[in-house]
């Protein structure tokens, strides 16, 4: 059995009076890619926002239960949220390049955490761009505004940027929803590469993508975890009828 990286215990999340995650228990192992599938409003994105505590910034959101990373509850008062977010990177559905040059986008995170040496920043930028397979496309124009990159390039830039702060976990919130098939396959192959060094959670509306890249898959419906298991098994022999209905396209 692989080492458990993230452990979610009796997690409930409310927005005001509305419960969006209902009593979820699950583990994510070190160095795996876990896909989360499910129709919209099923609490998938909320779960990611819980794991890096971006949910703290959502007015009216309430979290009960436990989320542990490496055995430590991240909701204790003693946890430094900024350090947590450094450790748990996130890639959003829409690429979010900051309005500055490519290089400055990549230097942003390390600078926040105290690295100012330009040589070192260039080093980090190159490594991370290579890891997200963007280096060859942008190496000659690092000073160009990041907003001028194509959508697929922007998304890989955001991935590279998430890597610059040396995270251990990377959360992907439908990273390919706005990308063409070629960009999508580039992002997917990058994810498989990243698996060696990171733990990945991938939310996707595309069940085929889940089947292509992930080791295990979890199916969420209306805030409940319906089923979680080996991707192959879940797609070929789902235990729950609702899972089966969803992956065969009967609803959702």
């Amino acid at each position: 059995m692989l080492k458990v990286k993230i452990k979610v215990d009796n997690l409930n999340v409310y927005y005001g009076n509305k419960q969006v995650i209902k009593d979820v228990n699950m583990n994510v192992s070190d160095h795996e890619i876990l896909s989360i599938i499910g129709p919209s409003k099923s609490g998938k994105s909320t779960l990611l926002h819980v794991i890096n505590r971006l949910i703290d910034n959502v007015p009216g959101a309430k979290v009960t239960g436990q989320v542990c990373i490496d055995g430590k509850n991240i909701y204790l008062d003693s946890v430094n949220v900024n350090d947590l977010r450094k450790k748990v990177g996130i890639i959003f559905a829409t690429p979010v390049p900051l309005p500055m040059s490519i290089f400055n986008n990549l230097a942003y995170g390390p600078r926040l955490h105290g690295i100012t040496n330009r040589e070192k920043l260039l080093d980090i930028a190159e490594n991370c761009l290579r890891a997200s397979s963007l280096w060859d496309e942008v190496k000659s124009r690092l000073d160009m505004s990041a907003l001028r990159l194509s959508g697929g390039q922007q998304q890989r830039l955001c991935l590279a940027r998430a890597l610059t702060v040396e995270p251990e976990i990377i959360l992907f919130d439908e990273p390919c929803s706005g990308l063409d098939p070629i960009s999508t396959s580039k992002v997917e192959s990058t994810m498989r590469e990243l698996k060696k060094n990171y733990t990945l959670i991938l939310i996707t509306n595309n069940t085929k993508q889940a089947a292509r890249v992930s080791d295990r898959t979890a199916f969420f419906l209306f805030g409940e975890l319906i089923e979680i298991g080996e991707t192959k098994r879940l797609f070929t022999a789902p235990k729950d009828k609702r899972t089966k209905d969803y992956i065969t396209g009967k609803f959702g």
């Binding site: 890096n52 971006l54 910034n57 900024n82 350090d83 947590l84 977010r85 450094k86 990177g89 996130i90 959003f92 829409t94 979010v96 390049p97 900051l98 309005p99 500055m100 942003y108 995170g109 600078r111 926040l112 955490h113 955001c158 940027r161 998430a162 702060v165």
Partner: protein
């Protein structure tokens, strides 16, 4: 019949819209008509760089007034920009809705106070304070800077707030997700992102400060001389026109119009810069 009425309404609205432009042109036309012949006769360089203004002796140099206007305006910016941008950041990024709902209307109210009231407060409260603490008459660049700085706050705050809220919320999310604090996000992402909007707000505030007359007449002391310290009295271009136009005749009157031409030029340049910046942002 309905269609006919529609057409009438439409045409009158167009007429009304264009009348604004017409008024602008009329103002420009009359100022220039009176001012340009004087400038042609007296010479623009002598008018701009002359440091003596003695209408009785036909000496018309407005350099002291130009410098006075620039100092007072810069002073207003030094006071108003940090306060204004700071308030805007606080209101957009840190204040909760309840606090914002109290402060925002208060700031808007600030814009509605007549300038003579600002001048009154300046002369009764601020000037004595400056006189006691820093010497001089109290009617000085410093006093005017503080009062004008407060007067331009509403402009700067509301435009800065607009450009901060206009930024996509994902910038903030993206930055926070990298482990940045709110403050780091403001300094490193939001302010640079809203830079052009903030600059436009500052320039509009500057236009307001340079054009302000009533409060300035009351608190600058109106001495015609090139100031050497912050506590000196100065006279601005606007005060010069307002103070003397009532009794000026002949060439003196034309000189004041020429002064207005220069002021007009200053404000046109500032507004053009502001418009260029705003257009560049929306591209």
């Amino acid at each position: 019949m309905n269609k006919f009425i529609e057409t009438i309404i439409e045409k009158s609205i167009i007429l009304i819209a264009f009348s604004t432009v017409a008024v602008l042109f009329l103002i420009a036309f009359f100022i220039f008509k009176e001012g340009i012949p004087f400038l042609a006769q007296y010479g623009l360089p002598g008018f701009l760089t002359g440091s003596t203004w003695l209408p009785g002796e036909d000496k018309f140099g407005i350099l002291p007034m130009i410098i006075g206007s620039i100092y007072v305006t810069l002073g207003a910016l030094i006071v108003g920009v940090p306060l204004g941008v700071g308030s805007a950041i606080f209101l957009v990024e840190f204040a909760n809705k309840r606090i914002r709902n109290i402060i925002k209307p208060a700031i808007e109210l600030l814009a509605g106070i007549p300038s003579v009231v600002y001048g009154f407060i300046g002369i009764m409260v601020l000037a004595p304070w400056v006189r006691i603490n820093f010497g001089g008459s109290g009617l000085s660049i410093l006093t005017a800077s503080i009062v004008l700085g407060i007067m331009i706050l509403p402009t700067i705050i509301s435009i800065t707030m607009d450009s901060l809220t206009a930024l996509p919320s994902v910038y903030k999310e993206g930055s926070i997700a990298l482990g940045a604090t709110t403050w780091q996000t403001v300094i490193m992402v939001l302010l640079p992102g809203a830079k052009s909007g903030i600059l436009a707000g500052i320039i509009l505030g500057m236009g307001r400060a340079i054009g302000e007359t009533m409060a300035v007449i009351m608190i600058t002391g109106n001495a015609i001389r090139i100031p050497t310290s912050l506590y000196d009295s100065v006279r601005t271009m606007t005060s010069n026109i307002a103070l003397e136009m009532g009794y000026a005749l002949g060439i003196h009157r034309s000189a004041l119009f020429a002064n207005a031409v220069v002021l007009f030029g200053f404000i046109m340049i500032l507004n053009t810069i502001a418009i260029l910046i705003i257009n560049k942002r929306s591209k």
